[in-house]
């Protein structure tokens, strides 16, 4: 009986719709707590799964996804991964919550996990966690790119992190990035995530003579910091990691659109040197399948603002890398071979970049690929004073 169960699990899916088998890909993400993140990850994976067909000696494989809600809880994430393995998932696409525990469960079952949102240092280690991969900007890369961008400006930076795991991981990365340039740091603060009023903390930063704020926190905290600064008449420039582009920030500041102007965030670039065509094609496919994601705010001339599916491209790419690895491994029955193949293949990513992993590095987004974009009128555009960002095209965000 156990052998039969193992065999069913090893086959990793079910037969359906005529030819071949359908492999299950689990999406483990916080659908209930941060729906934008969860839905974006699931939709990106779903789009790739819908299009991928792998023909091997074992037969033809198609894919489907199943959503598992973590609610941003590590223990729920663990339970989800156990269920995903029991359900016969061939791989797990993960937002990142609880990875420190879930990776081992997946490793024991020889299942690859692909993190497509969180960038925390230590989540990915090709030696200690050979089944964990990531396609998302790392906190390390983002922090160093921010330091590289901001320090030459001669700013005295107030580093603000909230006490969420996202904020704390970011604070760790910022400490490393600014370690050899402490003169650039006016103050380093930790604020409570989701606090209704951050005016006292912002005032502390102002009194420390900060001339810029770098806020590594959840979207609500970022919005709170901006509101506190602008509400007190302080026009300090604000910089953030990718959380700054989360629609929630703009939604919370919708009554003061001008407060968003100038907000600059660092994120993985959505377009490559080949131009915006690959991303626009991906965006078109994505929107045809799932519809546009309205931010819920308007531009100064009244156009609806939509959120480009930039984070969706990471889960999309991961599923395509997985499919390429299955192709190379000749199927999914030999799990070890499939895991090894994950290190040997590349695919053309949704943004036109080569996407893949290798034996030394399980990061699918290189640190160089972090770019900077600045908001103006509720939409953002790549900055012009950074060599990489200056090469990137503007993605249309008006409807």
């Amino acid at each position: 009986m156990t052998a039969l169960c193992l065999l069913a699990t090893a086959c990793g899916g079910d037969k359906s719709k005529g030819e071949g088998k359908t492999l299950l890909i689990a999406v483990n993400a916080p659908f209930s707590r941060t729906p934008y993140v969860g839905e974006t990850i699931a939709d990106g994976a779903g789009l790739a799964a819908a299009n991928a067909v792998v023909k091997t000696k074992e037969g033809t494989y198609r894919f489907r996804i199943k959503r598992y809600d973590t609610g941003l809880s590590a223990s729920t994430a663990v339970t989800n991964v156990r269920h995903a393995v029991a359900d016969g998932a061939v791989a797990i696409v993960d937002e990142g919550t609880g990875i420190n525990a879930t990776w081992r469960i997946a490793a024991d079952a020889e299942r690859p996990i692909g993190i497509t949102y969180q960038g925390g240092i230590g989540l990915v280690d090709p030696v200690k966690r050979p089944n964990v991969f990531r396609i998302a900007p790392t906190d390390h890369g983002t922090a160093f790119r921010l330091a590289e961008y901001l320090i030459p400006k001669g700013l005295r930076i107030g580093l603000v992190a909230d006490d969420s795991s996202y904020g704390q991981e970011g604070q760790k990365a910022l400490r490393q990035a600014f370690a050899s340039n402490t003169d650039s740091v006016a103050i380093s603060l930790t604020v409570p995530a989701g606090a209704p009023d951050l005016a006292p903390e912002v005032l502390r930063a102002r009194r420390a003579d900060a001339t810029a704020l770098l806020v590594w926190a959840e979207p609500t905290t970022i919005a709170g910091v901006i509101a506190a600064a602008r509400g007190s008449g302080w026009s300090v420039p604000v910089y953030t990691p990718a959380a700054g582009e989360d629609p929630l920030v703009r939604q919370q500041l919708a009554n003061h659109p001008d407060w968003v102007d100038g907000l600059t965030f660092a994120a993985g670039r959505p377009t490559a040197e080949v131009g915006p065509a690959p991303f626009l094609t991906f965006q078109q496919d994505y929107e045809q399948r799932f519809g546009v994601q309205l931010v819920g705010v308007k531009t100064p001339d009244g156009a609806q603002v939509v959120q480009p599916p930039d984070y969706a491209m990471y889960s999309y790419d991961f599923v395509n890398v997985l499919a390429a690895a299955i192709q190379r491994a000749g199927g999914v029955k030999d799990r070890a071979k499939l895991l090894a193949a994950m290190n040997q293949v590349s695919v053309l990513g949704a943004n036109g970049d080569q996407r893949g992993f290798n034996e030394n590095n399980h990061e699918g987004v290189v640190d160089d690929d972090v770019y900077f974009a600045r908001f103006e009128g509720m939409t953002y555009a790549p900055v012009k004073d950074d060599p990489l960002s200056a090469t990137l095209a503007v993605i249309e965000q008006r409807r």
Binding site: Q344, D353, Q354, N358, N360, V366, D367, D368, L388, T391
Partner: protein, 411 residues
């Protein structure tokens, strides 16, 4: 009658005109194409490497420098091959490329501004260059797939008291050491001889010389011929400059004589207690493909010596002069072309992402126990080569200096 006359006239016309037509359009041929007539390696090219083509954006914008460190057993057999490859990207933009190599491991090299990736038989680079970016990686190669492509063969035989001295042995008695160093770049390539169109030949020769000056691949080497071709074989080798040292533990040997093949040079006859033999040579690979040194003396509790050789490709001799007849000039031009192509092969032990661009390689052969790290330290025996011959000097210093012995023992 009329028909026969027409045929006769026609035949006469063909006979008269055909050679002129042939002369008007002599056949155009390419000089022997190096990838077709020379061995494929170096650069190393594992069969399953695959890779990414270099973006045209970077053509002419990359330079490559390599340092190949070869670990040698005491008898000169290579036991490890490690390569430090430094690629400088002089262009703004995204890069993604793979360097094929039989890698066991890949680590970031000194000064690198990005971390190398590793796949089966690949060193992987991906990132964004803000205008200039240094990419350096130490690659540990599988020796069995690398040593055959090395430019130099080394053999060392050390005997004390009439029997071979092995690793870890320490013995006293009469010493005889034979060091043989051989240029292994010589190959035979398919070539041809013919009567070349002199103007074309001059143009092609100019292109080859220009490519040599610019350290790039020579292209556009087509010429018209005024005669049919005759196949010939060409011997092609790369001149190698060899410099280095052979060191005995201080106080363990007294060198009496040193003889050399082919030059039979006497080494002073000095009696020494401690010795370093300095080696400086040019092995052109054709006229002189190897040298051998035989050292004799006395050993006191001696162990096998430590050898370190630094090898670089030398200048390619240009045999073409204007006073030569066209056939001789063609033969010289082909010899120059093939020798330069062969030199570029050894200047690129690992393939540069831009194979037609500038590249240089220094080989360091160093005695090291198998499995021991072949450290990427600075080369010894540096400086410029001053002679075309080879000179061996026994340095007889530091006799009886205990500190030197201690230092050596810990080196």
């Amino acid at each position: 009658m009329t028909k026969r006359l027409l045929v006769t006239i026609g035949a006469a016309f063909v006979v008269a005109v055909a050679p002129q037509a042939a002369a008007a359009q002599p056949p155009v041929v390419s000089l022997p194409w190096p990838p077709a007539v020379l061995p494929g390696t170096p650069p190393l090219a594992p069969s399953t490497a695959g890779g990414f083509p270099l973006s045209p954006l970077f053509i002419g914008k990359l330079t490559c420098r390599e340092r190949v460190v070869v670990g040698l057993d005491d008898d000169g057999t290579p036991n490890a091959v490690r390569v430090l490859q430094t690629i400088v990207v002089n262009q703004l933009g995204n890069y993604v490329f793979a360097v094929p190599a039989p890698v066991r491991s890949v680590l970031p090299g000194p000064g690198t501004e990005s971390s190398p990736g590793r796949r089966q038989n690949q060193i992987l680079w991906q990132g964004f260059s803000p205008g200039r970016r240094v990419l350096a990686a130490w690659a540990d190669l599988r020796p069995d797939e690398s040593v055959d492509a090395l430019p130099l063969r080394v053999r060392v035989a050390t005997e004390v008291a009439g029997s071979p001295l092995g690793p870890g042995d320490k013995r006293s008695g009469d010493l005889q050491l034979t060091l043989t160093v051989e240029n292994a770049t010589l190959v035979t390539a398919k070539s041809f001889t013919a009567e070349p169109h002199p103007v074309d030949l001059a143009v092609v020769l100019g292109r080859i010389r220009s490519a040599i000056r610019r350290d790039v691949y020579a292209e556009g080497l087509n010429i018209r011929l005024l005669s049919s071709t005759t196949p010939v074989k060409a011997r092609v080798a790369v001149p190698l400059r060899v410099e280095g040292t052979l060191r005995f533990a201080p106080g363990t040997v007294q060198l009496g004589t040193a003889t050399f093949d082919p030059d039979r040079v006497q080494l002073g006859g000095a009696r020494v207690r401690d010795g370093v033999v300095r080696i400086s040579s040019l092995l052109d690979g054709v006229q002189r493909s190897r040298f051998r040194i035989v050292l004799r003396g006395g050993a006191t509790n001696a162990s096998t010596p430590k050898l370190e050789l630094r090898v670089r490709t030398g200048e390619i001799p240009d045999p073409v002069v204007a006073s030569q007849d066209p056939r001789t000039r063609l033969a010289g031009t082909i010899a120059l072309e093939l020798a330069y192509a062969r030199k570029r092969q050894f200047d690129m032990f690992l393939a540069s992402p831009e194979q037609v661009g500038p590249s240089s390689t220094t080989y360091v052969y160093r005695t090291a126990a198998a499995g021991a790290p072949v450290t990427p330290g600075a080369s010894s025996g540096g400086g410029e080569d001053h002679t075309l011959g080879w000179i061996v000097l026994g340095l007889l210093l530091v006799a009886g200096v205990p500190a030197a012995a201690v230092m050596w023992a810990h080196s």
